[in-house]
Amino acid sequence: MASAFWCIVEDDRQGAPKKVMAEVLGAASRLGGGPVEAVWLTDKASDAGLKQLGEWGAGKVWLLENAGLAPYRSEVWAGALADLAAQQSPRAIFGAVTSRQRELVARLAARLGVGLAADCVALAMNGDTLVATRPVYAGKLIARVTWAKGPWVATLRPNVFRPAEAQPGKTAAVERPAVSLPPAVMKFVERREEVSTGLPELTEAEIVISGGRGMKGPENYVILEDMGRVIGAAVGASRAAVDAGWRPHRFQIGQTGRTISPKLYLGFGVSGAIQHLAGMRTSKIIVAVNKDAEAPIFKIADYGIVADLFEVVPELTKEFKKLLEK
């Protein structure tokens, strides 16, 4: 019976589902199109993680726990997941926009011969079919897309969907299906960790601070990081700043960088070129600080201050600190 809505679990590789799963599970539940189930491929699950998935609304967790699933390799994961899907015939398979899931579901959709909608920002049932909304053309347009047949495969942009409210005590039935893993073709060599800034990851952060060309040089980002520590924000940069070599590319927000959708975006010395807007225009609240009153970012900002960022940032950090210490 093709009825379940599957949510593929994104975890921290230590046995805990990431908070984006609350969003994916929440979105799937609100569609009301069928039972919501989590599918967890991991080398080590945890009881706490399983409990968490239940509290976020998963009625069932399909747990594929196997040492061969780490590190993530698409040929292994897609094969295992496709076998399970063939057995269980889910109605929809949702993932989050993360480095491994966006690749995994693409491969899975090809295996299943079905359509894929990546990076969705809204989902709705239209009678018996699912319609997804996703930004296209650098976010200048939005497209509504639908599937010829199921399962409907989609990835959901983090921070966009309202997360499921945890229901303490609600538990998921855990099933450990018999699925054999295809052999791994790729050989793992090493993982190189980035030097941690101690701040949240850009695409996951609820608050993102971004510094543009107005930062004048790499040495000045420290004032943004100070603010980031006070309010728990990730610190990113515009392409201009990345191309100038001030920040590594992984911090770039925009069309050729990361797409973010935080609750609060604070841009300092960012002009707001189309290519930057493409990566952050779905942010909920946008604050812009720029000396140039004509900077395009003010056109999409909810709040703007026309002033020198080097005067505003320390003052703002001080005020945030005062507020949060209350």
Binding site: R73, V131, Q255
Partner: protein, 259 residues
């Protein structure tokens, strides 16, 4: 070593994009078309592999209407040896899977040892073709690669893919598919000689029938396109810096409830 690079022609970022008369399509009038930026990283990397090995062939391939030849021509100008243009009305409205099927079919004919793509095309931003190609071909793939190195024998490629919090390095037996991320390299400009020589290079039209494929309905289709709803007008907070900052913090807390 034969390397195939799959590229897509897309509207330039700076171009205005409007919904067309058919609301499922954009109005293509007045659009400047370019090779999708990530695909340029893929082309550059393919050329570097060839140059480093001192031999080989780089074939550019793209699916789309007649205008796509311009994009292929600029790949030839950059240094690709020849191009294949999947040019058939059967592929109108192709989704990522239909595109991947067509590409997989042409790859089976060409038998390259390595396929390079861009991380995603900047028009529909799906970012799916690389993985789907790998699946259809039964090859390994690495997405969002920041570094690669093909071994001397041409049997393995070592690729570093960007993931949250770092890079993961894998050895992929060839043939394999890689998707280029920004930071992999700095694409070259076509030289004048390259541009002048490009017209002497072959761009071969490939029809669906040549690949043994028929028209297939897309699994994912666009119901409609809409302009982004405008954001409500914002507010420029006036006053000297300390006053404006205090007001901003108050507004973020009390009005927007964002902090």
């Amino acid at each position: 070593m034969k390397i195939l690079v799959a590229i897509k022609q897309v509207p330039d970022t700076a171009t205005q994009v409007k919904v067309g008369a058919d609301p499922r399509l954009i109005d293509t009038a007045g659009i400047t078309w370019i090779v999708s930026p990530y695909d340029e990283f893929a082309v550059e990397e393919a050329l570097r592999i060839k140059e480093k090995r001192g031999q080989g062939e780089v074939v550019a391939v793209s699916l789309g209407p007649e205008r796509v030849k311009e994009a292929l021509r600029s790949c030839l100008a950059m240094g690709c040896d020849r191009a294949l243009h999947l040019n058939d009305a059967a592929w109108n409205g192709a989704d990522t899977l239909a595109t991947a099927r067509a590409l997989a079919a042409v790859i089976k004919q060409e038998q390259p040892q390595l396929v390079l793509c861009g991380r995603q095309a900047i028009d529909d931003d799906m970012g799916a073709v690389t993985a789907q190609l790998a699946e259809l071909l039964g090859w390994p793939c690495a997405s969002w690669i920041m570094e690669e190195a093909v071994d001397a024998e041409g049997t393995t490629v070592r690729a570093a893919r960007q993931v949250e919090g770092g890079l993961e390095v894998f050895d992929l037996p060839l043939p394999a598919v890689l998707a280029a991320q920004k930071g992999l390299n700095e694409p070259r400009y076509p030289t004048l000689k390259g541009i002048m020589g490009a017209k002497k290079k072959e761009i071969r039209d490939v029809k669906a029938a040549d690949l043994g494929l028929g028209a297939e309905p897309s699994q994912l289709s666009v119901v409609g396109l809409e302009a982004l709803p405008p954001r409500p007008p914002g507010r420029i907070i006036q006053g000297d810096v300390p006053t404006a900052v205090k007001e901003l913090v108050r507004a973020l807390r009390e009005d927007a409830k964002a902090i």
